[in-house]
């Protein structure tokens, strides 16, 4: 047996599971530069190194396009070669990557011709042969913990659970996430960590080709550097064949040995060593918007737009914030709400003509600053005032008033496009705030030319390219000249053309006297800033003159807050497979003493669900309120037992309060039901109380039990215990992971409408239309995510996973049996009340 990294992922001895970087056990080349190894190695070494990629006559025309994206493309990548693939946006680079992975038809349909072979086999013949990392961090996340997420590919190839630990730990260590708890939620990671997690997911399957589709374009510079260094390490370690698509070439040049340039029609126009290709084609790459090292930053576009900013009284600031604190709550499906302090006690003043650059690490609260300044969230404490709005806090302004004063450019503004043509999009807010139509149209025409959007002025903005959407979104946000412009990382991921456009728009509006606040990591932006404001993550709060008792409490709270990050990183779970009652706050979980669990929390997710369903035949049995009362009595007794938390440890908090909260909607339903039964049943109190109590008997078990159904664990149990089909269960579990994100997107879309001046007023019709519009936009975005996730999942072998295994066990324990017996007991009481009618 060769002690090599084999395609067969069941060779655990190859992967070191310790904290150090794993060692590849190889006969030669352990210390030498891998290039030499590849050059000197015989066929044996090559077989464990990267694979060759052979593309011949590849043509791809998505349905609905007259011209193919790729036409008769031929390309060979040698084993272990590291290729940087560049070209203008829309030239088919991502398409080519998907073709190499064999995933072109996964999220699109069209005509495909030609062949793609990876080491002479079709890329999807062996799951995970070709690993892939996509642009958007988190796009490929399938599970609720990083351990499960990395194990996903192993499940798809049917590896036994016991064998998964080593490759999972090895892959996480290889990407520098080895120190994290396996239970860490992927959604609490930074963007850079999420990209490294995606890489770990690919590495777990021992790929031989690695495809990276703009892996760092949505990251700040520090995170981007982290991802690149990890890529460099694993590619060197495993001698992988690498194909990277990026717009910023500089940082990748040392890592690659070949540069391939394709043009707008998807044809290869230059191919060779990076330095030579840059020497011969550098200027044409610059013209296409690619960041070529050694070429200075582009000059921001000069726009002469005849801006007319709203006049402020002399000496008035555009915006002032005093002692502002912002807290927000994060709520996952079936999880305890967590409160996060984003800004604490901050002051900020923006004067006309200033550009403030907010800088600081990810998660420091920069975006929260923009939101509170722009009235998108209310400050938890302190005051925010806008020069245009007098004493009215911005979060209380109506949509049109807010739009007049403030513009907001979110980082990925394309989701907030609202109109049906590019021209209407530009004019949307100007029309909403009643800007003079001639002035607005003149500006729009100028912007269409300056931003290169003239040719697509009448096209639906949802169908134009990403770069075009971003240029459009920035221009559309500010065309009406608000006095305050808030831009969230406006230059991240921009090519040179969109960079120049965005900076041109921002600079010209600044010159005209608007105040700008920009969050950024970009040296090109801070260089032109009036003032640079450092933003730090809020420190634990200090109290003045504390008493002894307060000091003790403070110490306790600081301890809890110090531990907050680790709590956020998913240490929410307690015990094996158990979880906290939903109302226990994160702060409590961080305290040292273990919390006792209610009995029902010691059961798996399946038995509470089944027990809730078991009572469903009851309404057919119950004909009098006396019967219902007996059943309810049994339910109350059993419910109290289920929520009882015996044993040692701290008392779990919030059990009963949570129960009462959940009982509110039930009470309303019961009253309504009883009321209509009273009206219908000849105003008979007996009939009314029977109807009401019957509903209580039906729903009470759900109210007690359902909060203890863990949606993440439910999938494991449905598939392994109830033998539901594996693939739909996995798809549903992965979709559930996005539930929280859908809520955030909803709020973002609503916010965008409000701040662009087209938010609904108070009328019922307007509100309904707004909700319908936002719901539709949300569905479009959700289905887009589904497409990207499909590619990510198929890249890890999900497409062919007919017999998959499960990394998580689905044990049935004594508490499960007890919960089921409790349900049966309720049904038995119901049957008894029929056989021996009470009263």
């Amino acid at each position: 047996m060769n002690p090599e990294r084999l395609p067969d992922p069941t060779a655990p001895e190859v992967i070191a599971a310790g904290a150090d970087a794993p060692v590849v056990i190889a006969a030669e080349g352990e210390s030498g530069p891998e290039g030499e190894v590849a050059a000197e190695a015989g066929s044996e070494v090559l077989s464990r190194a990267g694979a060759a990629v052979d593309i011949a006559g590849l043509t791809w025309r998505p349905y609905g396009r007259a011209t193919p994206v790729l036409t008769g493309l031929d390309l060979r990548v040698e084993p272990g070669q590291r290729v940087l693939l560049v070209g203008p946006s829309g030239s088919g680079k991502s398409t080519l990557l998907r073709a190499i992975a064999g995933l072109l038809q996964t999220a699109d349909s069209g005509e495909l011709a030609g062949s793609v072979l990876v080491d002479a086999v079709a890329p999807q013949d062996r799951p995970g042969l070709v690993g892939m990392v996509m642009q958007e961090p988190g796009a490929g996340v399938v599970a609720s913990s990083i351990g499960r997420d990395v194990a996903f590919g192993l499940e798809n190839v049917g590896m036994q659970r016991a064998e998964m630990a080593a490759p999972v730990a090895g892959a996480l260590t290889a990407v520098g996430l080895g120190s994290l708890d396996l239970d860490t939620s992927p959604w609490t990671l930074s963007g850079g960590e999420q990209q490294r997690l995606a890489l770990a997911g690919a590495l777990a399957l021992s790929p031989r080709v690695l495809l990276l589709d703009e892996p760092t374009s949505m990251l700040d510079p520090e995170n981007a550097a982290g991802v690149r260094s990890v890529v460099a390490e694993v590619v060197a370690r495993d001698l992988l064949t690498l194909v990277v698509v990026e717009h910023r070439l500089g940082p990748w040049l040392d890592l690659v040995d070949r540069l391939v340039v394709i043009d707008a029609r998807g044809a290869v126009v230059a191919d060779g060593g990076p330095r030579e290709v840059l020497a011969s084609h550098g200027s044409s790459l610059v013209a296409q918007g690619i960041w070529v090292p050694g070429i200075p930053d582009p000059v921001p576009l000069t726009l002469d737009l005849d801006w007319a900013p709203p006049a402020l009284a002399a000496g008035t600031s555009v915006a002032t914030a005093e002692d502002v604190t912002v807290r927000h709550t994060r709520q996952d499906l079936g999880r305890a709400p967590r409160e996060v302090t984003a800004v604490r006690g901050g002051d900020l003043t923006v004067r006309p003509g200033q550009l403030l650059a907010l800088v600081g690490p990810s998660g420091a609260g920069k975006s929260s600053w923009l939101r509170v300044l722009g009235g998108m969230v209310a400050p938890t404490k302190g005051t925010v005032r806008l020069g245009l709005a007098g004493e009215t806090p911005p979060h209380e302004l109506g949509s049109v008033e807010l739009a007049r004063a403030v513009a907001w450019v979110p980082q990925w503004a394309s989701a907030t496009l609202l109109a049906r043509t590019v021209r209407d999009e530009l004019l949307l807010t100007a029309r909403a705030v009643g800007l003079d139509e001639t002035v607005a149209t003149a500006r729009a025409e100028l912007l269409l030319d300056a931003l290169g959007l003239r040719a697509i002025a009448e096209v639906d903005p949802r169908l134009i390219s990403g770069g075009e959407q971003r240029r459009l979104a920035v221009a559309a946000a500010v065309l009406h000249q608000p006095s305050l412009v808030l831009a969230d990382e406006p230059t991240v991921g921009q090519d040179r053309l969109t960079w120049a456009a965005v900076m041109g728009v921002l600079e010209s509006i600044q010159r005209a006297g608007s105040g700008l606040v920009v969050t950024t990591h970009d040296g090109g932006v801070t260089a032109v800033a009036t003032r640079i404001v450092g933003v730090r993550r809020p420190e634990p709060k200090k109290t003045k003159k504390p008493s002894k008792k307060k000091l003790a409490k403070l110490a306790e709270r600081q301890e809890a807050e110090r531990q907050e990050p680790s709590v956020e990183r998913g240490a929410m779970r307690v015990g094996g497979g158990g979880r906290l009652a939903p109302d226990v706050s994160a702060g409590v979980a961080a305290e040292a003493a273990p919390v006792r669990e209610p009995l029902v929390a010691r059961a798996g997710p399946l038995s509470p669900l089944l027990a809730s369903l078991m009572v469903l035949p009851l309404p057919a049995l119950v004909t009098s309120w006396r019967q219902a009362l007996w059943i309810i009595a049994a339910e109350v007794m059993l419910g109290a037992i289920a929520l009882w938390a015996p044993g040692r440890g701290a008392r779990p908090r919030g059990r009963w309060r949570g129960l009462l909260l959940r009982a509110i909607p039930l009470s309303i339903g019961v009253v309504t039901m009883a009321w209509s039964a009273w009206l219908l049943g000849g105003r008979d109190l007996e009939i009314a109380s029977t109807a009401g109590l019957r509903l209580v008997a039906l729903v009470l078990p759900s109210i007690v039990l359902l909060p203890f159904v863990d949606p993440d664990a439910l999938g494991d149990h449905l598939a392994q215990r109830l033998h539901l089909p594996a693939r739909p269960v996995v798809a549903a579990t992965a979709a559930l992971q996005r539930f929280q994100a859908f809520g955030e997107l909803w709020r973002e879309l609503m916010t965008a409408r409000r701040i662009r001046g087209v938010g609904a007023g108070s009328s019922w019709v307007e509100r309904s239309q707004e909700i319908a519009g936002v719901t539709f936009a949300l569905l479009v975005a959700a289905l887009g995510q589904a497409g990207r996730l499909a590619v990510a999942m198929d890249a890890r072998g999900f497409g062919g996973a007919r017999r998959r295994t499960w990394a998580g066990a689905a044990p049935w324990r004594l508490p499960d049996t007890l919960v089921m017996l409790g349900g049966l007991l309720v049904v038995a009481v119901g049957v008894l009340t029929v056989v021996f009618p009470p009263g």
Binding site: Y63, R65, T106, V615, A620, T672, V709, A731, L736, R738
Partner: protein
């Protein structure tokens, strides 16, 4: 609605890839994402519907059915978009399960309703042999989903009603399912296809093939 119907009824309906029971990953994920998104919508409607429901049912209790059709949509939509056996059940059951887990006042009953409505919509598409996905199929799916749900509610919520009320409720919910839920789902399918959200699925392909090629 004749316009909406035209493309499909002229026999230009594009069907899912064969074999029909072999779900691609994108089919599963589209269905699952629809289900989860509609779970949130169902939950929200469960709060908002109280007012219209009370107003409608005040004169005649079964008229409350006219506020209940939105809960039929995920299944119809799943069937119209995915066009494979089981899609309607999958989308509707998942939506119901999600709204149940967010806590609705009906608890586990929500889940059973989801199964019943999903099966109803599924039967609609089955009747057309999974070959028709125009207005007629959407309306039949909606009507059957509504009818089955009504019968389930006879035995769970409306045990006190006499047969006249029960039949009136059934007819009203089936009609609302056909006209409102069915046709709105069809319009939504076409809208999503035009927005480029269904490119790898049959409705998206229909939209792209009919568009003037640019």
């Amino acid at each position: 609605m004749t316009n909406l119907n035209a493309a499909a009824e002229r026999g230009r309906t594009i069907l899912a890839t064969r074999p029909l029971n072999r779900w691609r990953t994108i089919d599963l994920l589209t269905c699952a994402f629809l289900g989860v998104a509609f779970g949130a919508i169902y939950w929200a409607w469960g709060i908002a519907y109280a007012v219209p429901s009370e107003i409608l049912s005040a004169p005649f209790a079964p008229l409350g059915a006219l506020a209940n059709w939105p809960w039929l949509m995920a299944g119809i939509l799943g069937g119209l978009i995915i066009r494979r056996p089981g899609a309607a059940v999958f989308a509707e059951v998942l939506a119901a399960a999600v709204s149940m887990l967010i806590v609705t006042k009906w608890g586990a009953m929500t889940f059973v309703s989801g199964v019943v409505q999903g099966v109803g919509a599924e039967l609609g598409f089955l009747l057309f042999g999974y070959r028709r996905f125009g207005a007629r199929a959407a309306m039949v799916a909606g009507a059957l989903a509504g009818a089955l749900e009504a019968i389930f509610e006879w035995y769970s919520y409306w045990t006190d009603w006499d047969m006249t009320f029960k039949l009136a409720y059934l007819i009203l919910l089936a009609a609302a399912g056909a006209v409102f839920a069915g046709l709105l789902s069809l319009a939504l399918t076409r809208g999503l296809a035009r927005a480029g959200a269904l490119n790898s699925l049959p409705p998206g392909q229909e939209a792209r093939e009919s568009r003037t090629i640019a």
